[in-house]
């Protein structure tokens, strides 16, 4: 009996050992092999440099968000000791969030910024002077950048450049132009339409529900099926014409409102006439019931739009047969350059690394998808002049049709005027007075002169002068 137990236990042990051996084989997890080059580099770099974490805040469309994420990822791969904590904040909440972060002593190292707020913060010493970084930088000089994209809050002091370069142009649906049998909008500044030519073309392109255009005496402006032109009524779209007519937002020292001067009011009135006199453009109220201009072009509700060049992204993606042209001129052919700055916050622990990321973000190469996609334009001069660089973004893609290089790229560098946000102090507050006043103009209730003269005293109170930026 004893022997039997001995044998039994022996067999149990044997089977147990074999069993566990089998189980052991089955459940052996392979350690994921992850000895790729980048982690190896990271390890090497970490050995050399202290790890640094940067906080970077930004807004933008879903496409921008993804492009920025990729861009930041590449930056981290290249600088393995730097970790970038990229915070995407929807633009509606952006200023609130940033204000709260700064108040809570948790400011980011760098980030996108609203122009007016950026200037205020720079004056309070909360932002770094980008000139200081450039002076020490061996790779880049200030001259390498476009001239009209700098936000200088005092002589020699700059809070930075646009996050990307943007300007205004005339975009059109080529099929509609062809169907109406009108001339294609010119792409070269020297051929720019004068205002009458533009109005005439727009009238030909405006068609009512009976199929009659705006030049027809029987034209029914209450039942317009297709508008000749559409423009949003904010400052970005009337200021280019004001500049074209020799006007400005404020006078040279920023002490007086220039928008109420004749050059400016004429330009604004011309635009308002498109709506109320010629009925070739929808009013702000009518625009409420219309899709966004770039969609309007696709749906043939509008033939031409005065719009930001970033609309090329949507138009390119929609595979629309569209074209670009320079804006009509009043006295001279110009466009307006604007955007919003990316800034480096002072008081950050790692200004050197922040500058590295700043440069990286500004390098068109690292966000080439957005440049080639039509959303952004490069900030560096070389990308407008060197053919091998131009070919990387402004050629051979659906977002950059024929004529783009003249109508937008060249126009931006050669005839691009920095918008009022670059130099008018407290611009947001002033615009908050002017925009409602101009609404009366767009609706045809008042002339531009009337409306602007009315608000001039109130604006005058708010005027605090001009930042260093001279009119280009």
């Amino acid at each position: 009996m004893k022997k039997a137990i001995k044998i039994l236990s022996l067999m149990l042990i044997v089977s147990f050992v074999f069993g566990t051996a089998l189980v052991g084989c089955g459940s052996t997890n392979k350690e994921p092999v992850k000895a790729d080059a980048s982690t190896k580099d990271a390890a090497d770099a970490a050995a050399k440099k202290e790890p640094v974490t940067l906080k970077f805040t930004y807004w933008g469309s879903p496409i921008e968000k993804k492009a920025v994420e990729d861009c930041v990822k590449k930056f981290q791969e290249k600088n393995s000791y730097i970790t970038v904590d990229g915070m995407y904040i929807p633009s509606a909440d952006y200023l609130t969030k940033i204000t709260a972060m700064i108040a809570g002593n948790d400011a980011p190292d760098l980030g996108y910024m609203d122009v007016s707020m950026a200037f205020k913060m720079a004056e309070e010493g909360k932002l770094c002077n980008i000139n200081d970084f450039l002076a020490k930088d061996s790779e880049l000089k200030k001259e390498d950048y476009l001239d009209n994209i700098w936000y200088n809050w005092a002589p020699g002091k700059s809070l930075g450049t646009n996050s990307a370069c943007e300007s205004i142009a005339l975009l059109y649906n080529a099929d509609m132009i062809k169907a109406a049998g009108v001339e294609t909008p010119p792409t070269k500044a020297e051929n720019a339409w004068d205002w009458d030519k533009f109005v005439e073309t727009a009238r030909k392109l405006t068609i009512d529900s009976n199929g009659k255009n705006a030049l027809d005496p029987a034209f029914d402006y209450k039942n317009i099926k297709q508008y000749g032109v559409q423009f949003p009524t904010t400052w970005q779209y009337y200021m280019p014409l004001v500049y074209s007519n020799g006007g400005d937002y404020v006078n040279d020292d920023g002490s007086k409102l220039a928008l109420s001067s004749k050059e400016a009011t004429d330009a604004i009135q011309n635009l308002a006439d498109l709506v109320n006199k010629y009925h070739v453009a929808p009013s702000p109220v009518q625009q409420r019931s219309m899709p966004a201009p770039s969609v309007g072009l696709q749906s043939k509700q509008v033939a031409m739009i005065i719009a930001g060049q970033w609309n090329l992204l949507d138009l390119g993606a929609a595979k629309l047969n569209f074209g670009v042209g320079v804006l009509p001129k009043l006295k001279k052919s110009v466009t307006m350059v604007f955007g919003s700055p990316t800034v480096i916050f002072s008081g950050g622990k790692h200004p050197k690394e922040a500058w590295l990321l700043y440069k990286w973000l500004q390098n068109p190469e690292s966000s080439i998808d957005l440049q080639a996609g039509g959303l952004w334009m490069p900030l560096l001069k070389d990308w407008y002049t060197k053919p091998e660089l131009i070919s990387k973004w402004a050629e051979n893609n659906p977002a950059h049709p024929e004529g783009y290089k003249d109508a937008i790229m060249k126009q931006t560098t050669e005839n691009g005027v920095s918008g009022p946000a670059y130099y008018v102090k407290d611009f947001s507050e002033i615009d908050a007075i002017i925009a409602p006043a101009l609404e009366q103009v767009w609706l045809g209730n008042k002339t531009a002169e009337q409306a602007l003269k009315e608000v001039e005293p109130r604006v005058q109170e708010k005027l605090k002068g001009r930042y260093n930026n001279k009119k280009q």
Binding site: G26, V285, Q287, A292, V295, Q298, A318, P436, L443
Partner: protein, 615 residues
């Protein structure tokens, strides 16, 4: 039955080792297969139960998440209805002045964003009136005239101020925007919450002493148009939540209303279409639950739940065979384990059966050679187990059998030899005896006493051998016979030798092997006194010592060399008798007894016989 019998017969005919191996394999692999099968079944049940519960929980959780979001949005909408600022804006609402509308839009947008901007899911929010849609146009727009012809509007009016949820609609169809059909719209498919805003407000009069008057409820003048709040949601919010929580990639989710209109589905082509999945009726009845249904011939698990806010049903369709993919791991694991155990069983069976069968094989071989009459040497026993004991016992038995056979066989032979010898001497004893008596009487008549004496001796000898056929005889009888024999031999050899007898009287009644001294005496006379003419001396003695009878026959004849003694003992045709006596004694009494010869050449020979004395 026949087959079983056949298998049984086949099994019975197998060699022991094969039987053992087969048994071991069966004993180990059958339970392991049974356990494996049970294990597989149990785990598949547990896994499918768990999966069912898990998926059901995912669906429930998703519905909860959505419900929480939506009910908070509903609450915000509810609070907005009594917003005093909104009330004030609509109190003096003048739809005719367009610039007023634009100004109002700024203020309304602020109010709208106050209530809804924090909800990421709200794609766009508008307060719609017949003249103007208030709210931000940054993402989309509300086509002014078209809105009042939509089902969205009629649903909102019908709900009389309650929030109603509008299933996913195609923007271009709903608002009759044919021109936009071919454009890339971010807001092509949306679903919405709408609410007729019966704007009112509660005003508390604040007195200087810090008390409040009873609150005054104010409602919009009945002739003022009631605006409609529309909150648009992208179908994506369902898609993101549900597609990210799909348990497996083959699973499909549905957000569907009670009429079968699809609100969200991974296949965008199905949006805004109608479908009646097999489980829809059940889902409408039960509200929440799970069940197995057959979809296109595949057994499919459907888990569904109904939103308490929208009343929409969310469901997961999960192909069962795909859910149990983890089971294949279990299946293979069990299979491998069973195979492993079976292989192990075979190895163990070989080893163990080898150990069991090996001694049996040896035994068989031994038995076979015994059958042929060859008694093998001892078989080496292995270990102390039953097999070892069996081999040991076999060895003992083997030895005993050998001995028995020898005893039986050889005793018979000796007996026969003795008998034949006696018969030779007998040779018709009656005739001989009568003849000898007649001769005796004739000798007495002729006074030939010597002859008479010899004939009497011969007669006595004949009678003794004739009468006695047993192996053992009384020593006295045997001695009488021997004396007659010696008397005859003495006369034959004309007194070449003298004889002396010397016996312990106790010996006379003991039993001895018949005629056991005769061959020795004969040997002494014929060979010992071969060369002498006279003076030979023969001494026959018998004594008892320590329970042993010692008989001795001593002569002073020519003697023997030790080689000769050995030859005599090892049987030689001349002295077969002597060797025979030795063997007989040993057979009858044991190995320690027997015959012993001492001799010196020229001096004489002494032959001793030791026989046990009992009594």
């Amino acid at each position: 039955m026949k087959i079983i019998k056949g298998i049984w017969m086949a099994f019975k005919n197998l060699r022991l080792r094969s039987k053992l191996i087969l048994s071991f394999i069966c004993l180990i692999s059958i339970p392991s297969l049974v356990i494996g099968f049970g294990f597989y079944n149990t785990s598949s049940k547990i896994i499918s139960d768990n999966t069912r519960e898990n998926i059901f929980n995912i669906v429930k959780k998703n519905t909860q998440i959505i419900d929480i979001k939506f009910s908070r949005i509903e609450e915000s909408a509810l609070t907005m209805v009594v917003d005093p600022d909104l009330y004030r804006l609509f109190e003096g609402y003048n739809a005719e002045d367009e610039s007023n509308l634009l100004r109002l839009n700024y203020q309304m947008s602020v109010i709208i964003s106050k209530y809804f901007s924090m909800y990421e899911d709200v794609y766009s929010a508008y307060i719609v009136t017949s003249k103007f849609s208030f709210g931000s146009n940054s993402k989309m727009f509300i086509p002014q005239g078209a809105f009042y012809k939509t089902s969205i509007y009629s649903d909102a009016v019908e709900a009389k101020g309650k929030t109603s949820w509008i299933r996913t609609y195609d923007f271009t169809d709903m608002f009759n925007q044919k021109e936009l059909k071919n454009t890339n719209l971010d807001y092509r498919y949306m679903f919405a919450a709408v609410k007729l805003l019966n704007i009112s407000t509660v005003e508390n009069q604040n007195y200087y002493d810090g008390t409040y008057s009873s609150p005054v409820i104010k409602s919009l003048n009945s002739n003022v148009e009631r605006p409609i709040l529309i909150l648009n949601f992208q179908e994506n919010i369902f898609h993101e939540l549900y597609s990210s929580s799909l348990p497996i990639k083959e699973a499909v989710y549905y957000i569907i209303d009670r009429q079968g209109n699809i609100i969200s589905h991974p296949d965008k082509a199905k949006l805004n279409t109608k479908e009646t999945p097999v489980w829809l009726q059940e889902a409408i009845q039960k509200g929440t639950g799970s069940s197995y249904v057959n979809i296109n011939g595949h057994k499919t698990l459907v888990c569904y739940d109904t939103s308490k806010v929208t009343g929409w049903i969310s469901a997961f369709e999960v192909p069962v065979d795909k859910t149990l993919s983890s089971l294949t791991v279990v299946r293979y694991y069990t299979l491998y384990l069973a195979i492993g155990i079976t292989i192990l069983a075979i190895i163990i069976a070989f080893l163990i059966s080898g150990r069991i069968v090996q001694p049996i094989k040896k035994l068989l071989k031994a038995i076979r050679s015994i059958g042929e009459g060859n008694f093998p040497n001892r078989i080496m026993a292995v270990g102390n187990d039953e097999m070892g004991i069996l081999v040991d016992n076999f060895n003992i038995m083997n030895e005993k059998i050998q001995k028995l056979i020898e005893e039986n066989y050889e005793v018979k032979i000796r007996e026969k030899e003795a008998h034949i010898m006696a018969l030779n001497l007998q040779l018709n004893p009656h005739f001989m005896s009568n003849t000898l008596n007649t001769i005796n009487w004739m000798a007495i008549e002729n006074n030939q006493s010597e002859i008479s004496k010899m004939i009497m001796s011969l007669s006595t000898m004949l009678q003794y051998t004739m009468r006695n056929t047993t192996e053992m005889v009384r020593f006295k009888d045997d001695l009488d016979w021997l004396k007659s024999y010696v008397f005859i031999m003495k006369n034959r050899y004309e007194d070449v030798f003298e004889v002396e007898y010397q016996f312990d009287e106790r010996l006379y009644d003991t039993m001895v092997p018949k005629l056991f001294l005769q061959p020795i005496v004969e040997n002494a006379i014929i060979h010992g006194f071969e060369i002498i003419e006279t003076g030979g001396y023969l001494k026959i003695t018998g004594s008892i010592e320590n329970g042993i009878r010692n008989f001795a026959v001593e002569d002073n004849g020519k003697g023997m060399t030790s080689e000769k003694i050995l030859k005599v003992m090892k049987s030689d045709e001349n002295s077969i008798g002597i060797k025979n006596i030795d063997k007989r004694v040993k057979l009858l009494f044991g190995e320690e007894y027997g015959l012993h010869i001492e001799s010196q050449e020229g001096k004489g020979t002494k032959v001793c016989i030791r026989i046990p004395y009992d009594g």
